[in-house]
């Protein structure tokens, strides 16, 4: 009998696949290295002297203990199903028992990295509702067992929720396994999408790093220059030249980085729709399989940048409820969507009707005056200080940065719009690109009004809206308006009987 034909009933304590030992060892080592890396650095950069054998012994001992710990950990880790819960027993020194009632299970996701694929096993992630520790995972279970476990858990959960009243069954339906593909991305799509990523953001870090290197090189250079007796103007000349080279290098580097990232994480991407949720499937080395059930999605947002606008693609995000605040992994990101895809997802989730009669309002212009004004002052002070010390290069760089920062504030003030009806809240924004966030009002968890002394003098306030997938804010609106919106939203939330999750 082949291994895959074994039918499990999971009533007896079952261990994970033996491959899990490998995963646990890797994880343990990661934690170990994470906590002792300063020591490792000392060890590596130490010149070979008498103490190195002592260090070596320490490292080998740590590695050995880590391995023993991982192996024991594997053998002490069981799971089984009883009448109404999934039970997981674990722990090396301190035994712990985790009980997960079936009706608490939200989604079950499979994930595979390279090692998983070689051994034909999957990492099983289970997402639960409510409790503080919302997620847990099995490191490795072989594919057929995992499928059986998933089907059994879903069936049991279905039975468990059905025995409750009908309303809960409606909102917490089982994950349907029949999917229809909404969109697929080919390699050319990905290369296109990678090319129009926000290089400025990913490159800014590289630029800062390069500037730092240049600065320290320049410090060394300066001494020589002074000895030769070079003038200030030629220093500016070399500075500008270096900046030009850096800008080119920086763009090429960030281009490559975002391209590689895009292809690796979204290779062979499939975005699918089931009866009550969305699912995404992608990855070159680490295959990801993430589901988002309709009732778990709290906020959806999409946006672009000038480059993306040019070729007509958007980034779509479906943000799910999670106990870990706005963990990026719980939000599904679909790069390279067309406008039609976005509309399709929006209308599938909320229905076209939900967006009727939404009037959009701007925010107060003092948002720009205040922020722009303060930044202008700070930059003006910096620029005049640079000029005083005859650092004209630095002054001009600061001037350019100041211009862009103030421009960004101006554009984001101009683009910020909010609007709502009795069902949906829509917030539009962005500076150089566009961004839209929408959420059903009944999914709001709490509301707060924040006011700085400046805003109080001008009868303005910020409205912050907390959802289970992070917060959204509407800055600088009239304080009475904030009051009205809060009253309206509270009323709508409090009378709504739908489950937010």
């Amino acid at each position: 009998m082949r291994k895959s034909d074994v039918v499990h009933d999971f009533n007896t304590p079952t261990r994970q696949s033996i491959v899990a030992i490998l995963m646990i060892i890797i994880k343990t080592y990661r934690v170990l290295i994470g906590s002792i890396w300063p020591l490792l650095l000392v060890f590596i950069f130490k010149d070979g002297n008498s103490k190195s054998s002592y260090w070596m012994f320490f490292l080998i001992a740590a590695a050995f203990l880590g391995m023993i710990y991982s192996i024991i950990n594997y053998f002490r880790y069981y799971f089984y199903l009883n009448k109404e819960e999934l039970v997981i027993e674990s722990g090396v020194l301190k035994r712990s028992k985790l009980n997960v009632p079936f009706d608490r299970i939200q989604t079950i996701n499979f994930e595979q990295n390279l090692i998983h694929r070689v051994f034909n096993v999957v990492r099983l992630k289970i997402d639960t509702a409510g409790s503080a520790k919302a997620e847990f995972q099995f490191h490795a279970i072989d594919q057929s067992t995992a499928n059986q476990l998933r089907n059994m858990l879903l069936a049991k959960r279905n039975a468990a929720t059905k025995s409750d009243d009908k309303e809960t069954t409606q909102s917490a339906q089982i994950e349907d396994t029949r999917y229809k593909t909404i969109m697929q991305l080919s390699l050319t799509d990905l290369i296109k999408a990678g090319a129009v990523e926000n290089h400025l953001r990913s490159g800014a870090i590289i630029l800062a790093f390069l500037y730092w290197i240049w600065q320290s090189l320049d410090d060394a250079q300066m001494n020589i220059d002074q000895q030769v007796g070079e003038t200030v103007t030629s220093q500016i000349g070399t500075g500008l030249y270096l900046i030009m080279v850096l800008v080119v290098v920086f763009f090429i580097l960030s281009f490559i980085v975002s391209m590689v990232r895009m292809v690796f994480t979204n290779y062979d991407l499939k975005f699918m729709r089931s009866k009550n949720g969305f699912k995404i499937n992608a990855g070159l080395f680490t295959k990801k399989d993430v589901s988002a059930l309709d009732h778990k999605i709290q906020v959806i947002s999409w946006g672009d940048n000038p480059l993306k606008k040019l070729i007509g693609i958007k980034d779509l995000r479906l943000k799910q409820a999670s106990s870990i605040v706005l963990n990026k992994r719980t939000s599904i990101r679909v790069p390279s969507c067309s406008e039609a895809h976005v509309n399709l997802v929006r209308d599938t989730l909320y229905g076209k009707e939900s967006f009727k009669e939404i009037d959009f309002h701007p925010i107060d212009k003092r948002y720009f005056y205040r922020n722009g004004g303060i930044l202008t002052l700070i930059f003006a002070a910096a620029i005049s200080t640079f000029c005083y010390f005859q650092l004209f290069l630095q002054a001009s760089v600061a001037g350019v940065i100041a211009f862009f920062v103030v421009l960004t504030f101006y554009l984001s003030y101009r683009k910020k719009r909010y609007g709502f009806n009795s069902e949906m809240l829509v917030i539009r924004g962005g500076a150089y690109g566009d961004k839209t966030e929408i959420l059903p009002i009944y999914k709001i968890q709490s509301l707060s009004r924040k006011q700085t002394p400046y805003q109080r003098r001008n009868n303005l306030a910020n409205l912050v809206i907390h959802t289970a997938a992070g917060k959204v804010a509407i800055p600088y609106i009239n304080e009475h308006r904030v009051q009205q919106i809060m009253d309206t939203f509270l009323y709508l939330i409090e009378r709504d009987r739908r489950k937010w999750m």
């Binding site: 709490s446 700085t452 917060k471 939330i493």
Partner: protein, 186 residues
């Protein structure tokens, strides 16, 4: 795209979009807000004084007993700074206390705070995950307690109201838990 739309399953949408007259909605603007217990002010003031006195004592100890060199020259400036800071903190604690207030309505709780940076938070009871009453050792000395209200909105949307008597806290907690319970049954 039109074809695709047909084959997709639609999410269950139950939409109602009636007109709301904002002027007839219940408003939180004219509520009577309850202040916190005066004991909280006492406790906070005492703690601020204690905190800074310990700081000053440590400074004086280092300066005149251990005789750290640079402290002999600059110690008095640090001392003046510490005293100024303590007076400032006492003022902030004192006036900030009177800005803290809360109101309980039938379906939500509202909490105001902040001397310079004002904030008011409103949490509807049907979004409360759970409630907790915490009484620390210091709280016990002043007959105080904290009411903690948790939502699924994460740490930034959770609410902690310090400075309630344990009886009030427990009563409020029971009220809120009762409200959330009723909501789930319906």
């Amino acid at each position: 795209m039109e074809e695709k739309e047909e084959i997709l399953y639609h999410s269950e949408v139950s939409f109602k979009n009636e007109q709301l007259d904002e002027s007839t909605l219940p408003t939180m603007a004219f509520l009577e807000y309850s202040p916190l217990e005066k004991n909280l002010l006492k406790a906070d003031l005492i703690w601020t004084i204690l905190f800074f006195s310990i700081g000053i004592l440590i400074l004086l100890f280092l300066q005149y007993y251990i005789r750290i060199e640079w402290l002999l020259n600059f110690g008095h400036w640090i001392l003046i700074g510490l005293i100024a800071l303590s007076i400032l903190s006492l003022l902030v604690v004192y006036f900030g206390f009177f800005k803290k207030s809360y109101a309980i309505r039938e379906k939500d709780i509202i909490y105001n705070s902040g001397l310079f940076w004002r904030s008011s938070v409103a949490i509807p009871f049907n979004r409360v995950q759970h409630c907790e009453v915490a009484i620390g050792p210091i709280d016990r000395m002043f007959e105080l307690s904290e009411l903690k209200i948790f939502t699924a909105g994460g740490a930034s949307s959770d609410l902690t109201i310090e400075g309630l008597t344990p009886e009030t806290s427990n009563r409020l907690k029971d009220y809120i838990v009762n409200k959330t319970g009723i909501d789930e049954e319906e």
